[in-house]
Subunit: 157 residues, 2 copies
DNA sequence: AGCGATTGAGTTGTGCACAACTGAATTGTG
DNA sequence: CACAATTCAGTTGTGCACAACTCAATCGCT
């Protein structure tokens, strides 16, 4: 009923094949989620919260805008997440004096101290993958390339 | 990023490195999400709903349990999702006569007809990745291996 | 200086993911 | 046969992701 692809693959093959890369991606992503859930449990953090803390531990005080840029999250996700981190006593939110629109996330002493207990997290995760570092790197590079291609294909921003 | 011998990595390097594979994974996953959102928009489906439809198109009537097994989703996710598909007129839910605990998802005529319009989806997605099929396959295999390793590391089930 | 456009954070609403739970149907074991 | 354990779908509650919006602060242009 429509044009046939040049390759030997037919529509129904594509429909079966299709889910697979995204599905494999989603499955891996959720498997990581499950592992992080366990590992981060006694730090009292979720995985996205942990990512925010990573940025803060590395960078110190950071504007919400910058957190969003680094983590690819928008204010609709970050605002409530930061509120929860603040409620947990790990950060404070301070309006910038220079630009009253901007809000900075600032580590509290408690938030800073949590880093000590977080250092073991990456090792536990890495151990669970059973992958060599080089292989992880390779996967990263491919995924980054894939992401860039996909982003380019969606005309947003 | 800068290359570094694996042996020389310290805690803080780990803390920086750490997010990266999962982060790359999450980024790729969300990039796919964004693309699917656009492509599936005029089918009126979300990506998880599309996955359910794929299974139904391939398999016909399928118990909720089996959908969960295939898609790695639990009833907490599937129940409301299937309700929405039913509300959209694409499926019906029918309690099994053999086992009254079990519910089968059944395609309506409308749901079956939607397949015609869905066949172009995989091509559009594949085109957006710009990846060769072999490369996609390779990535799939690696991700599946990663997922299996991670699942094995989380003592659930 | 005046004022429209843009920027930044936040809110609302929808949908997914998952834990913990409920309740009904079925199965297994004594 | 009885009844405890299990299975299955569904519900509730929390948190993330994102679209669409609001509102105030700032910027840019004239």
């Amino acid at each position: 009923m429509t044009e046939q692809p040049a390759a030997a693959l037919r529509d129904q093959d594509f429909l079966r094949l299709d889910g697979q890369i995204c599905f494999a991606l989603g499955a891996a992503n959720r498997a990581f989620g499950g592992l992080y859930r366990v590992v981060l449990k006694d730090l009292g953090l979720t995985y996205p919260q942990y990512l925010v803390m990573l940025v803060l531990w590395e960078n110190g005080t950071t504007p919400v805008k910058e957190l969003g840029r680094r983590l690819r999250l928008d204010s609709g996700t970050l605002s409530p997440l930061l509120k929860r981190l603040e409620a947990a006593g790990l950060i404070r939110r301070e309006r910038s004096a220079q630009d009253e629109r901007s809000v900075h996330a600032v580590l509290t002493d408690e938030g800073t101290a949590l880093r000590e207990r977080a250092v073991e997290v990456p090792r536990r995760i890495a151990a669970a993958t059973g992958f060599e570092l080089t292989e992880i790197r390779d996967l990263q590079v491919r995924l980054a390339r894939l992401t860039a291609a996909l982003d380019a294909a969606v005309p947003q921003d």
